[in-house]
């Protein structure tokens, strides 16, 4: 047994005493079921999996790891799309799926307190009877965990109007990488002192593990109206988006899907979008009924003026759900039209949307790699889905290259390499394209302030000497770049 293997064996015995024997997984086959999160092209079998049930247990687990210098990675429902919860081969995967109690729903103070494993949509279900809801709505909201939302600062279709997770969390109880249990933020809107909560949310599991989350609840809007507009192509749909926003309307959401994405969604959930559409927009308005009625008319007009050939207005909640069904299932639905695909996530200023889409089409045509587009058009968050078949030689590589080229495109237009999926393992190598060495150094110093030993989700967010596209795992020997003195590992 290797030295690290022995450490894990010691840990397994120690942690069994903390979380009980059925809370520790050390058997190889079972460990393999945790080898990836929602981004399945990266796979690492964890050294050990632990399923704690309380904050105290998480503290004990983290302290045990810290004492032995063993790396650990936190994971919620394992739906992330940047490999942020990719396990560490010689480390511990701390899974919060058994910490799923909703501890308090307090509508009078507009908040709820939940454990990190609680499913996003379950917060809304718990608050709904009082007339409140939890606003962040990633497409995976029926399965993703609130802890994961905090780690990734998740957004969703409605963050155009309501903002990201960071705007809906008042405080978190955190186990630091050294095993301290601390509160960042609190239960009120603002607390004195540095905004450490702001640093923690979106830190992708590198600054600690959230064990309790105080989320802000919003009033369920008095009125919600939703329309589905079909356009001949993405140019017209993009023009409609710009016109709506320029008019001063802030819809709750504006979502766009192109022809290929529509084809996939139809195949998966038969959403019944208008036939022959080169692009569809889903526009949702919410708020006081009078305001919604007024702006809804304006939105319809802008869509028609921009060239919409069919506009459907949802008559009831069921029809609205049907409009959304196609959009929300789009990522996974692409599995119906392509054996493999990459979900890309980039941001651009909204005004350059038609230009960037044209460039993506050109890139796609030039390489023969198909790209389906789904995006939060209102805030310029693109989700190009790059299709390929791993079984065909060269396709995976070509897709990977195109996917990277799309990110370069986003950066060149003044955008960002991620809108909401996070950097994780997948985009760590793109960070230097967006940030200077000084920028990255400053980020590292913040990280080290929380995690001096570098054991909390190591290898994520920041580039390591690892090459882009190289599949991580147990490293055998010294990395060639390191051997050549060209890079150093940290």
């Amino acid at each position: 047994m290797t030295y690290r293997g022995a450490k894990l064996a010691v840990l397994a015995a120690e942690l069994s005493a903390v979380v009980g024997p059925d809370g520790v997984i050390a058997d190889r086959q079972r460990l393999r079921t945790y080898e990836c999160d929602g981004l399945a092209q990266y796979r690492v079998v964890p050294g050990l999996v632990v399923l704690p049930e309380s904050a105290e247990q998480v503290v004990a687990v983290v302290r045990a790891c810290a004492a032995l210098g063993v790396a650990f990675v936190a994971r919620g429902s394992g739906t992330g799309l940047s490999g942020g919860a990719l396990p560490h081969a010689e480390g511990v995967l701390i899974v919060t799926s058994r910490m799923r109690r909703i501890l308090e729903v307090d509508p009078a103070n507009e908040r709820a307190i939940v454990e990190p494993g609680v499913i996003n949509l379950d917060v809304t279900k718990a608050a709904e009877p009082y007339g409140w809801y939890f606003a962040p709505d990633p497409s995976s909201q029926q399965v993703c965990s609130v802890g994961g939302n905090v780690a990734e600062n998740s957004g969703g279709a409605h963050c155009l109007k309501y903002g990201f997770t960071t705007h809906h969390v008042l405080g978190v109880e955190v186990v630091t990488p050294e095993g301290e249990l601390v509160w960042l933020g609190g239960t009120t809107r603002d607390v004195a002192g540095y905004d450490l909560l702001g640093a923690f949310i979106g830190s992708e599991g590198t600054l600690g593990i959230a064990t309790k989350i105080v989320v802000r609840l919003m009033r369920t809007p008095e009125s919600v109206r939703c329309l589905l507009a079909a356009f001949p192509g993405v140019d017209e749909a993009g023009a409609a988006v710009s016109a709506i926003i320029a008019d001063g309307v802030t819809p709750a959401a504006i979502e766009m899907m192109d022809a290929l994405a529509i084809e996939a969604a139809e195949a998966a959930v038969a959403c019944g979008y208008p036939e022959g559409a080169g692009a569809v927009l889903i526009v949702e308005l919410d708020g006081p009924a009078a305001e919604v009625e007024h702006t809804f008319a304006a939105v319809r007009q802008h869509c028609t003026a921009a060239g919409a050939f069919e506009i459907r207005v949802a008559r009831d909640a069921d029809e609205r759900a049907r409009f959304w069904k196609g959009r929300k299932s789009a990522f996974a639905a692409v599995g119906r039209i392509s054996p493999d695909y990459i979900v890309q996530d980039g941001v651009i200023p909204r005004t350059v949307l038609p230009d960037v889409l044209r460039r993506i089409t050109e890139l796609s045509a030039g390489t023969g790699v198909r790209v389906a587009n789904v995006f939060h058009a209102g805030d310029g968050n693109l989700h190009p889905l790059v299709l390929f078949d791993e079984a065909k030689p060269g396709e995976a590589q070509a897709a990977e290259q195109l996917s990277g080229a799309i990110l370069d495109l986003c950066i060149s237009y003044g955008g960002s390499i991620t809108g909401e999926h996070g950097v994780g393992i997948d985009k760590a190598c793109h960070m230097p394209r967006m940030f200077t060495t000084d920028d990255l150094d400053v980020m590292q110093r913040l990280r080290r302030a929380f995690d001096p030993a570098g054991i909390c989700n190591p290898g994520k967010v920041f580039p390591t000497p690892r090459l882009c596209g190289e599949v991580p795992g147990k490293r055998k020997g010294v990395h060639p770049l390191q051997a050549a003195g060209l890079a150093e590992q940290f």
Partner: protein, 443 residues
């Protein structure tokens, strides 16, 4: 393929496994994931284990344990946006497990006993006498009072708790003529558990079909459909049962084969897959599947002609997994219930979640099954409904037992019994109001 968990005879197909993109949308739909919060007891995790098995991991005790723990409720199938055919994958995996893995002696004995008894209507019927005696003699109450019951093995305790109060069983005729105009000739599956423990449901089914213009053929000596065997991976046994049932109903010359038990209907609709290697039976199996209908499916398809009398009751409808998830039959039973004047239909929270009955799952895995049953009963009690309607005998027994355990005995009945009461204008669940024999003549 010698190494690894599976042999070459229909292993879980790599192409089907590849459909899974690991998005995790199946997790909240899976009862065992809800109970234990572990990846390997989720559909996504089980598919991962199948993949590991194909890649050379042996069929270990832990791997088998996670496949066995799957209820086969199929709730993950409609939840999957990528269209993964989990049903086919788990069925093929189970057949491999049964063939290639040797269970402990106690498990082998338990399974042996279950499969000696349940798929044989005659053996089950023979138990009716002793069971009725047990219920009426006071022995049942005495065992409970003295706590002796608690000392029995878990499986026996579960069995004891499940047995419904037995009602009189009448021999159904082989031919029930259609009332009003004849719209179809249907063959009726009487089943094993349904026939022995819920004979009144079969009688009601025949009366409703006749009232709705169906001539009903009830072949004597029809055997088991093989659902329990099929869903447990006992492939050869399932194939034998399937062939015999196809022979039986082919000889009856009917337009449809009607089933009033969800588990049976779903298994029968899988015959084409089950018999895919059998050149003689494969085409007949396909034709058989074409003609197979759940009672609610057929009645909705034909449309009502018999007038309904009001039933002023509040009903909660429970989706049997093998009806809702495996056969996508959700709207038809609701539509039929809604059409009854005076009847109020309520929905149960967490409706998609299995009640834990799952064929013989509650006998093999009493603990999780009981937790799921109690969860279902608690959800049901929040609706305030006094009557539960469902389309599967296993669910009926499981939920009734859980409700009794929680101290809220419920009336649990079948859709056919509700329709029968409404058509005949009698109160629901009053055995004395049932006619002594269904209207019949011999052909």
């Amino acid at each position: 393929m010698t190494a690894g968990a599976f042999d070459d005879h229909h292993p879980p197909a790599a192409e089907l496994i590849k459909d899974c993109v690991h998005c995790g949308f199946c997790l909240p739909s899976c009862p065992t994931y809800l109970l234990w919060g572990e990846e390997m007891d989720s559909p996504r995790g089980r598919i991962q284990l199948m993949k590991a098995g194909l890649e050379g991991e042996p069929l270990s005790e832990s791997m088998v344990g996670h496949f066995d723990a799957c209820l086969g409720c199929m709730a993950c199938v409609p939840a999957c946006p990528s269209g993964v055919q989990y049903g086919t994958l788990i069925a093929d995996t189970r057949a491999q497990v049964e063939r290639r893995y040797e269970r402990s002696l106690s498990q082998r004995l338990l399974r042996g006993a279950i499969f000696w008894l349940f798929p044989y209507p005659r053996r089950l019927r023979a138990l009716r006498g002793p069971l009725a005696l047990y219920q009426r003699s006071g022995l049942s109450r005495w065992l409970r009072r003295t706590k002796l019951l608690d000392r029995l093995p878990a499986t026996l305790q579960v069995m004891e708790s499940l047995i419904p109060t037995l009602t009189r069983r009448q021999q159904l005729p082989q031919w029930v003529p259609a009332q009003r105009q004849r719209r179809a000739v249907v063959g009726m599956l009487t089943g094993c558990v349904q026939d022995a423990l819920f004979p009144d449901v079969n009688a009601a089914t025949a009366r409703v079909l006749a009232a709705e213009g169906c001539a009903v053929v009830i072949p004597r000596g029809q055997g088991c459909c093989g659902a329990l065997s099929q869903h447990s991976g006992r492939e050869d046994e399932a194939i034998t049962f399937a062939r015999a049932l196809i022979d039986c109903f082919d000889a009856a010359g009917v337009d449809y084969i009607v089933v009033n038990a969800a588990g049976c209907g779903s298994a029968m609709k899988e015959y084409a897959h089950l018999l895919r290697d059998d050149s003689h039976y494969a085409p007949r199996a396909r034709a058989f599947v074409e003609r197979t209908r759940d009672i609610s499916e057929l009645l909705a398809e034909l449309g009502p002609i018999a007038p309904r009398h009001p039933l002023n009751i509040t009903i909660a409808y429970h989706d049997a997994c093998h009806l809702a998830h495996a056969q996508q039959i959700r709207s038809q039973p609701r539509q039929l219930l809604h059409a009854i004047p005076g009847l109020t239909l309520t929905e149960i929270p967490e409706a998609h979640l299995c009640c834990g009955s799952a064929g013989i799952y509650n006998l093999l895995h009493p603990k999780p099954a009981t937790e799921l049953g109690d969860r279902k009963a608690r959800n049901l009690l929040t609706t305030g409904a006094s009557v539960l309607v469902t389309g599967n005998p296993g669910c009926s027994m499981q939920i009734a037992a859980s409700a009794r355990r929680l101290g809220h005995p419920l009336t649990v009945t079948h859709l056919a019994s509700v329709l029968d009461a409404s058509i005949r204008g009698v109160p629901l669940c009053d055995p004395s109001s049932a006619p002594t024999t269904p209207a019949h003549q011999n052909r």
